[in-house]
């Protein structure tokens, strides 16, 4: 239960961090941000990185800033930064609502938004937010900077499009329309546990009909994603119990469920059906 030995690097600037990462990445060098997933994995000796590039002392990277269209979130921004709405847009309320479902309060003090995406646990709440809202990841290395769309970013269980020498420096989330509604629901056996299924939905009403529906499902497949069949079931329809159930059914049918010794595919589909329906029924405002 004690992490294996490693060499710690403490860069003060982003450039310095990227240079060190480029040097140590081939020797299993990794970024240490909040450490709330990496350190437990190291304690179990599932990971034994030879080098850790600790970015907690890097200047900058702690910004949560909006230009009116995009919310930029830097690599050192903690989950707790979203406990209260960070901007006057439904996105701020959405992030605050979702943040409360992430692990527990002390974990949220340390864990980072970008770290959660780079770790890419299939059940992670921020990964679901990024996939549902079509976030853009900004990957930086000594070779330059490149944007990665959420749909290309998550490649599987704890697997992303980031190269070993790339740092997820920033994530861009598009703001929601001012009249957007959102709903989020997740199922876990105990408070703060990993979600066994989670759903995030956003939509707005145009002449009483659902428009621009987004339905994202997490925790049910190797990576979170939007479910086009569920969105199609909603768009153009007036919100009703029947339509919400139809969308939930479409989502349950569309997924290729993860199975484990406690969770059959059928059970996972049941959970997806339930969380999508609940997210739709309890949408805000």
């Amino acid at each position: 239960m004690k992490p294996a030995a490693f060499i710690r690097h403490v860069p003060r600037t982003l450039d310095e961090a990227l240079k060190i990462l480029a040097q140590v990445a081939p020797q299993d060098g990794r970024i240490l941000a909040g450490g709330q997933s990496l350190v437990p994995i190291m304690a179990f000796r599932l990971a034994k990185p030879a080098h850790l590039v600790d970015i907690n002392e890097v200047e900058g990277l702690d910004h949560v800033a909006s230009d009116g269209q995009i919310l930029s979130i830097g690599a050192r921004v903690r989950h707790a930064a979203f406990h209260k709405s960070v901007l006057d847009n439904p996105l701020g309320k959405l992030l605050a609502y979702v943040a409360r479902h992430i692990a527990h309060y002390p974990i949220r003090m340390r864990g980072t938004f970008c770290g959660s995406l780079a770790h890419a646990d299939p059940s992670a709440e921020w990964c679901l937010v990024a996939a549902t809202l079509d976030a853009t990841m900004v990957a930086k290395s000594t070779r330059g900077s490149r944007p990665i769309a959420a749909k290309d970013f998550f490649e599987g269980i704890m697997s992303t499009a980031l190269a070993e020498d790339e740092l997820l420096a920033e994530v861009h989330l598009p703001l929601l329309p001012a009249d957007a509604k959102f709903g989020f629901n997740e199922f876990s056996r105990r408070a703060g546990d990993f979600a066994m299924a989670a759903a995030l939905v956003t939509y707005r009403l145009a002449n009483g009909k659902i428009a621009d529906a987004r339905v994202g499902v997490g925790g049910a497949e190797p990576a979170p994603r939007r479910i086009a069949q569920a969105e199609a079931a909603l768009n153009g329809q007036a919100p009703s119990d029947k339509i919400f159930r139809a969308a939930a059914e479409a989502a349950a049918k569309a997924i290729d469920p993860l199975e484990d010794h406690q969770t059959t595919g059928e059970y996972r589909r049941d959970l997806v059906r339930a969380v999508v329906r609940r997210a739709l029924e309890h949408s805000h405002p």
């Binding site: 239960m1 004690k2 992490p3 294996a4 030995a5 490693f6 060499i7 710690r8 450490g35 709330q36 350190v39 437990p40 190291m42 304690a43 179990f44 850790l52 600790d54 907690n56 409360r100 527990h104 309060y105 002390p106 974990i107 003090m109 340390r110 105990r190 408070a191 703060g192």
Partner: protein, 159 residues
């Protein structure tokens, strides 16, 4: 093995000059290198909360931080709660409401509750319940812990 780094940990206002490997967790350094054994180690992977301490005003799991990361920061542990013979209102409330039995989880619960209430004195009952779900207790069934923290919250707000 990697080399040891000389650091100073400031715990409850006292400086401890120690030398640790980078892999040394903060909780191990607090207990083994600084001799402050009030902070307990339970699961060592961030689930149980027994090792919760306050670092620069934030309640955190000290098993999920490396000691070298806490150098230069203000660390508070259960040993720093009481002032001379007078218990902290949170400690007194745990006694008054029977919020502990074996006591293993108690330092973690105390630092969690004190840390959160100092940051958010007006936190609502529902949010407080969510906060207390952070830590595990195998004796009390939690109800008396909730009562104790609610009583202490009232007391702390009054001051």
């Amino acid at each position: 093995m990697s080399d040891k780094t000389a650091i100073t940990l400031t715990i409850n206002g006292h400086d401890h000059a120690i030398a640790v490997e980078p892999r040394r967790t903060l909780v191990d350094a607090i207990r083994e290198d600084c001799g402050q054994t009030g902070t307990h180690i339970g699961c060592e992977h961030g689930i149980c909360g027994a090792c919760t301490v306050i670092v620069d005003g934030e309640p955190v799991r000290s098993c999920l931080m490396f000691a070298v990361q806490a150098a230069g920061k203000k660390i508070r542990t259960v040993e720093g709660l009481a002032k001379d013979d007078k218990l902290h209102p949170m400690q007194q409330a745990f006694m008054d409401h029977h919020g502990l039995q074996c006591g293993f989880c108690t330092p973690g619960f105390l630092m969690l509750a004190v840390g959160v209430l100092e940051r958010e004195p007006d936190i609502g009952d529902d949010d407080l319940l969510d906060v207390l779900s952070s830590n595990l207790c195998r004796c009390t069934g939690y109800q008396n812990i909730i009562k104790a923290v609610r009583a202490a919250a009232k007391e702390m707000r009054g001051k």
